[in-house]
């Protein structure tokens, strides 16, 4: 007893450390899970590859001085219009190293680490002392083409590095769309209840009954010239039901709590109650299906690319696989993009499970 009193006395004098917030604590717990961290590190690595893709491999200079101006042609890989039109009119665009010297002997340029292009075949003599890419089944992986070349002689490594952008953007944008729809629908259903809940729940049920891939294929076929952005919208529009159901359940639970009643008593109106008071507390369990949704979106994009539906981007990993299906002897068209899709999906699944473990207080710490 005496000891205890002493401790208590001590505690009153010692300054307690600042309270750890929920998310800080979750992060501490997340960091302890080695596999989830490995997944996170892999996704960060992918993001870095995506951002620096034109600097890793490309045929356009990162920086160049041409006819007394500084240009950044490599930005053209992100968005075509960002490549100065002067290169197009001067006919430099398909052979920067030789043509630039020819048109302006004073010019200089900083080149990417590897000289290969994701969208076209590198031809003989473009780069001093480097022969063109092999065409057809002869394009085995080599020191020049790390992951080999496809049927047309385009470099697979370059395609995959630039394709990272698609995989990441698809994952985030389409899941972002799904998350916004899902959270709004789920929040409205759970918060208002009554006939709004009934209607929205039936809408969710209908959406869940839809054979998604089947409808998606039909939907994409009606777009005359589908782009990657159309795909993202379609994937997002069909991916929100899981998120909506979880959000609804959380809202049903949370709106009964005292603090919400208190906020109501203070006279706050529903938008504030919904988004400022309840939503932040409902977010933790909702993040888990969002993470899995990113993995699913990447899978769907590569599936569609593989089926050749919706005019897939030339650098899409799924499209490489579909080229591999046509040329089975070119195993490098299957192994490398297949591994990339597998690792990305695995990474997101691991992260999702890590978040689940670290935000759900009822689960015991992971054994992994």
């Amino acid at each position: 007893m005496i000891v205890e009193r002493e401790v208590m006395a001590n505690e009153t004098t010692i300054n307690a450390p600042p309270a750890i917030g929920f998310w800080t604590e979750a992060w501490v717990r997340f960091r302890r899970q080695r596999l989830a961290m490995a997944g996170l590190i892999f996704v960060v690595f992918l993001a870095l590859v995506a951002i620096f893709s034109p600097a890793i491999v490309g045929t356009k200079p990162l920086v160049c001085r041409y006819k007394d101006h500084l240009y950044f042609p490599a930005l053209g890989y992100f968005y075509e219009a960002w490549e100065n039109p002067i290169f197009m009119t001067d006919g430099v665009i398909y052979n920067y190293p030789q043509k630039m010297k020819e048109k302006d002997p004073q010019s200089w340029a900083v080149w990417p680490l590897l000289y290969q292009d994701p969208l076209r075949r590198v031809k003989d003599g473009e780069w001093e002392g480097m022969s063109g890419n092999p065409i057809g089944a002869g394009g085995v992986p080599s020191s020049r083409n790390l992951f080999g070349t496809n049927d047309l002689g385009e470099d697979v490594f370059a395609k995959m590095v630039h394709g990272t952008r698609i995989a990441l953007v698809i994952g985030f944008v389409s899941t972002g769309i799904a998350a916004v729809i899902g959270i709004v629908v789920g929040a409205a259903a759970g918060f208002f209840g009554g006939w709004i809940d009934w209607m929205l729940s039936r809408a969710i049920e209908i959406m869940m009954c839809i054979p998604v891939l089947i409808i998606m294929l039909a939907l994409i076929s009606i777009i005359e010239e589908p782009t990657i952005w159309h795909l993202m919208v379609v994937i997002g529009v069909f991916g929100w039901t899981g998120i909506a159901r979880l959000t609804r359940a959380e809202f049903l639970k949370l709106k009964q709590l005292e603090y919400v009643t208190a906020a109501k008593a203070l006279g706050f109106r529903w938008p504030r109650l919904m988004f400022r008071h309840i939503l932040p507390n409902a977010l933790a369990p909702v993040i888990v299906p969002i993470t899995f949704g990113i993995a699913a979106a990447i899978l769907i994009e590569s599936t569609l690319g593989f089926l050749g539906i919706g005019n897939p981007d030339k650098t899409s990993w799924g499209r490489l696989l579909s080229e591999g299906k046509e040329n089975l002897q070119m195993w490098w068209l299957i192994v490398f993009p297949g591994a990339a899709i597998f690792l990305t999906v695995l990474a997101y699944n691991l992260i999702g499970e890590g978040i689940q473990q670290s935000t759900d207080p009822t689960l015991k710490a992971s054994k992994h």
Partner: protein
């Protein structure tokens, strides 16, 4: 229960209406019609004359707005007529009817396999929980679950079709060999079975991984409960505890999964049949989409959606059957 069933079925029919209506509107707005797409492929002497074109357009209601077309489609459906395929010049019900058994052959086999294999795997992992062999199996299954089916399918094809070419172990895509017609009945069955190996593996591994993880996580929850401790205290052997006491309680969620996996099996069939050139419903759907064969697209959409709905209904009913605590009003 009966009341609940009727409500669910009515609701399901309404859902089917919404889906088919949406898909009808979609297919009618696709660029190109089956007739014009056809024209582009044909040589000049085969081309359809103006009057013939009109007649065909009328036959498929292409000259009317889509909602009228949909209404007429519904009307035909009400007396069991799905229309005629534009490409194959046969009734849609026959075209699809030929394909259904082929798809079921794959998905049914893999469903049975996945259930039969996942039971011992899941139980074994529960019994050996935390040991080295269990960790190895669990990690492997977890990784397997993240392998996209089309990647696995292509890798299998590279190995069994390309690398093993010329050896007796070579496995081809497609449903049967070229000399299928000359084989004896037994030979024909064996031939199809041989061609099923790769697609069934692809169909199965994902659900196998999912089910066994599912069993294990459910079992781990059950094993911690008081009545298991009581059984242990009574001196019941570990095997009997696992099978007789614990496993019975995990059966409930396990059985309901049957219904929920049905749509996944159907959806998965599109990609897998495409990889292995399997002439089932999935390849038919892709083909019909590319050729703008409206009646076939509509018929398949109807069947896919109806199966998905049925699967979910089945799951809910099974839920009530295996768990007496659940009742529907």
């Amino acid at each position: 229960m009966l009341h609940y069933l009727i409500r669910r079925i009515l609701f399901g029919l309404a859902t089917l209406l919404v889906i088919t209506c949406a898909v009808y509107a979609l297919v009618r707005h696709m660029p190109g019609t089956p007739l014009t797409l056809d024209l582009a492929e044909m040589s000049l002497d085969q081309q359809i004359s103006g009057s013939e074109m009109k007649r065909l357009q009328q036959q498929y209601h292409l000259d009317r707005p889509w909602y009228v077309g949909y209404w007429l489609w519904l009307g035909n459906l009400s007396h069991g007529d799905l229309g005629r395929s534009i490409k194959e010049k046969k009734p849609v019900s026959r075209v699809i009817g030929e394909r259904i058994p082929r798809t079921l052959l794959l998905s049914g086999t893999s469903l049975v396999l996945a259930y039969m294999l996942s039971l011992p795997l899941g139980l074994y992992s529960t019994a050996r929980s935390g040991k080295l062999d269990e960790r190895t199996i669990s990690t492997f299954l977890y990784m397997l679950y993240a392998v996209p089916t089309f990647v696995a399918g292509l890798l299998l094809l590279v190995f069994f079709y390309k690398d093993l070419a010329g050896t007796p172990f070579q496995l081809e895509p497609g449903m049967h060999s070229r000399n299928y017609d000359q084989l004896s009945p037994l030979g024909q069955v064996l031939d199809i079975a041989k061609h099923m190996i790769l697609p069934v593996i692809c169909f199965t591994y994902g659900s196998l991984a999912y089910y066994s993880r599912f069993i294990k996580s459910n079992m781990e929850e059950v094993v911690r409960q008081d009545y298991i401790r009581t059984a242990k205290a009574k001196g019941v052997g570990p095997v009997r505890i696992l099978l007789h006491h614990a496993f019975r309680n995990t059966l409930i969620p396990y059985v309901t999964m049957i219904g929920l996996t049905l749509p996944a099996l159907i959806g998965g069939s599109v990609v897998l049949e495409y990889i292995f050139n399997w002439p089932g419903m999935g390849t038919l759907y892709l083909q019909a989409l590319f050729q703008r064969d409206y009646p076939v697209i509509m018929g398949l959409t109807l069947i896919f959606s109806a199966l998905t709905l049925l699967g979910q209904l089945l799951a809910d009913i099974l839920y009530a059957v295996v768990d007496p605590r659940i009742s529907y009003q």
